[in-house]
């Protein structure tokens, strides 16, 4: 039954992906961008042989609909074409850039959960208290901060003026990168036993995580707080408290009930983190999907824009799928329909 559920949802995702790719393709062709200059370089444009070879290689001489059909057909085989700019297959590029984004998104998620749940519990148990109000203000501020600006300000203060945070990038330029296994520098450094690089990579994650994770933190806090308040009002909690049950047990119980909305939220948040990464990465020179997409956009590198956007959309769809699935597991009342 689970398999059926997954298959059905995946089948729904496929036309969605094609829809997305078609939208982008149509946009691209409405605007009539000529990618030739970018492909062969400005100087070689005067050489008809080079230009002809490029036109043929990239299929630019074929009618628009044929170009799309070829693209869509290749997509079925997992071939997303090659970037005009890097000349590498987009999929290869994405493999190169995705881990940096994943690392940042995951660390932001961990940060948001690690800080958001305890804060949410406290705020919920003592609703209206000092911590509750502080948390409310913080989450409001967080939701209002433009991440590309906050990143700059944090770098200016903590890096440039105070010198307690490292500069942009994933690792100090004087450090050697650990051998690439997962592409997540912290993990790779740990695998290699290179603890100096591990610590340095973690240090570099600090500021971008604070900024990217801040928004998710605010969401987690709100949800946990709301369910705590609700839980505290319940009969059994009042009974338990009156019977002298330690508050710890109450919190654990309440937390268990928070799990369902929290899972939904984290699924959404993860997708949000990916798009938030676009802005955060630009400021922190973080070589992830965001940096890749922004560069592709600035150069009208159509296959790269298409591939990068599709990947993010795919992650988005799959995350939602997993969330729905977990929802079913956590709450037996929800049938996997």
């Amino acid at each position: 039954m689970i398999l059926q559920f997954f298959l059905r949802r995946l089948l729904f995702a496929i036309p969605m992906m094609f829809g997305i790719s078609l939208v982008l393709f149509l946009l691209y062709n409405i605007v009539q961008v000529d990618p030739l200059v970018m492909i062969v370089g400005e100087r070689a444009m005067d050489n008809p042989e080079i230009v002809a070879a490029a036109v043929q290689k990239w299929g630019l001489d074929r009618p628009v609909w044929e170009q799309y059909l070829t693209y869509a057909g290749n997509m079925l085989h997992g071939d997303f074409g090659s970037s005009f700019l890097t000349k590498r297959p987009v999929l290869e590029d994405l493999q190169l850039f995705l881990p940096a984004t994943l690392e940042l998104a995951l660390s932001s998620l961990v940060f948001a959960i690690a800080i958001g749940i305890p804060l949410g519990v406290i705020a919920g148990v003592r609703a209206g208290g000092l911590i509750d109000r502080a948390a409310w203000g913080l989450s409001l501020l967080n939701a209002s901060l433009p991440p590309f600006w906050t990143g700059l300000i944090f770098l200016t203060i903590f890096y440039y003026f105070l010198g307690i945070a490292p500069g942009p990038g994933r690792l100090d330029p004087r450090m050697a990168f650990p051998p690439r296994v997962t592409g997540l520098v912290t993990l790779d450094a740990a695998f290699a036993g290179d603890w100096a690089a591990f610590a340095n990579a973690l240090h570099h994650l600090m500021l971008p995580t604070l900024i990217l994770g801040g928004f998710t933190l605010a969401l987690v806090l709100r949800v946990v707080r709301a369910s705590m308040i609700e839980e505290m009002r319940r009969e059994y909690v009042r009974t338990a408290r009156s019977k002298g049950l330690p508050p710890r047990a109450v919190v654990v119980h309440a937390l268990r009930n928070t799990l369902i909305p929290l899972v939904t939220l984290l699924g959404l948040a993860f997708a949000g983190l990916l798009s938030g990464a676009v802005m955060t990465e630009t400021v922190f020179d973080w070589p992830g999907l965001g940096t890749y997409l922004v560069r592709a956009a600035a150069n009208l590198d159509y296959p790269a824009i298409q591939g990068g956007t599709l990947l993010i959309a795919l992650i988005y769809i799959v995350t939602n799928l997993i969330v729905d699935f977990l929802y079913g597991v956590l709450d037996p009342r929800v049938r996997l329909a």
């Binding site: 969605m16 829809g19 997305i20 982008l24 901060l145 433009p146 300000i153 798009s275 956009a297 600035a298």
Partner: protein
């Protein structure tokens, strides 16, 4: 509910100033937000009075000057007054995001209404398009669209509107489906009322609360989106004083921190105001929240 309304009934006789004060105490976030936003709106109206220096006037002798009496927010690479550019920048960012929200609300409400009301293939077509659009994270889609359309404020507005409309369409459609099923609408139809008049008489009044709360929230989000596009070089054309574009020019210059700080503060304040208003509106219009 009944207690609250009886309280309201007693207070109805109180003078206006007291009532406002009371309201203010009850929904502080709404009022603080409105105050900030009104301040910014006044700034757009009276920019020339508040900041008489021409935001485009260059003076290379003041290049990258730190904040001082002459330039309270410092000067940029061309010696332009950043204070004046921030104040005049409100004339770009605020109207732009209002326009985006208006376009999105109009388009979204119309399409959502059509989808909800007629159903069938039209509904499917509209809502699948909305689904596809919503499958993208908004920044990513806006980035892709404005990359293809090219830089310019109009294109940034189009890109942001494309990203935003589906949410209103969904909201509207669900409202319609709920209202349609309600007995009085069924009754009205049975009595021979025309579908369109049902729509406007019964559905819209019910839908406008969530629409307005959402629109208030979205104004902030759109300011962020448009300034983000400008920050990435896909927004306004130079030398327009736009906040995101100003931050971009300060990007590599930590040592001249004032380049990015002040336009960013302006964005922060406006978004904060919108979030406060939206939060306050929600509390006010929907006491169950």
């Amino acid at each position: 509910m009944s207690a609250a309304s009886s309280v309201g009934a007693i207070r109805r006789e109180a003078p206006l100033s007291r009532r406002i004060l009371k309201h203010l105490r009850k929904y502080p976030s709404l009022w603080i937000g409105l105050t900030i936003l009104v301040a910014f709106l006044l700034m757009t109206l009276f920019a020339d009075v508040i900041a008489p220096t021409d935001p485009l006037a260059q003076n290379l002798r003041d290049r990258l000057d730190a904040p001082s009496a002459a330039h309270p927010f410092g000067a940029d690479e061309l010696g332009r007054d950043i204070y004046s550019r921030v104040v005049h920048g409100a004339r770009i960012s605020l109207p732009a995001s209002f326009v985006v929200v208006i376009i999105s609300v109009v388009v979204g409400v119309l399409l959502g209404a059509v989808a909800g009301f007629f159903g069938g293939a039209l509904d499917a077509a509209i809502m699948r398009t909305a689904d596809v659009t919503l499958a993208f994270p908004s920044v990513v889609l806006a980035l892709a669209i404005s990359a293809f359309l090219g830089p310019g404020l109009t294109n940034a507005i189009i890109a942001a509107s494309v990203v935003l409309w589906p949410e209103y369409a969904r909201l509207m459609r669900s409202q319609i489906l709920v209202v349609r099923a309600q007995e009085y609408v069924v009754a009205a139809r049975a009595l021979g009322a025309r579908e369109a008049s049902i729509l406007f008489r019964h559905v819209l009044p019910n839908a406008w609360t969530p629409l307005i709360v959402k629109a208030a929230l979205d104004v902030g989000g759109i300011i962020l989106l448009v300034s983000a596009l400008s920050f990435l070089g896909l927004g306004v054309q130079p030398p327009t004083p736009e906040w995101g574009a100003m931050i971009a020019l300060g990007r590599t210059k930590f040592f001249q921190w004032w380049l990015a700080t002040f336009p960013g503060l302006a964005i922060l304040l406006v978004i904060l105001a919108c979030n406060l208003i939206s939060e306050g509106l929600r509390n006010w219009l929907d006491p169950h929240y």
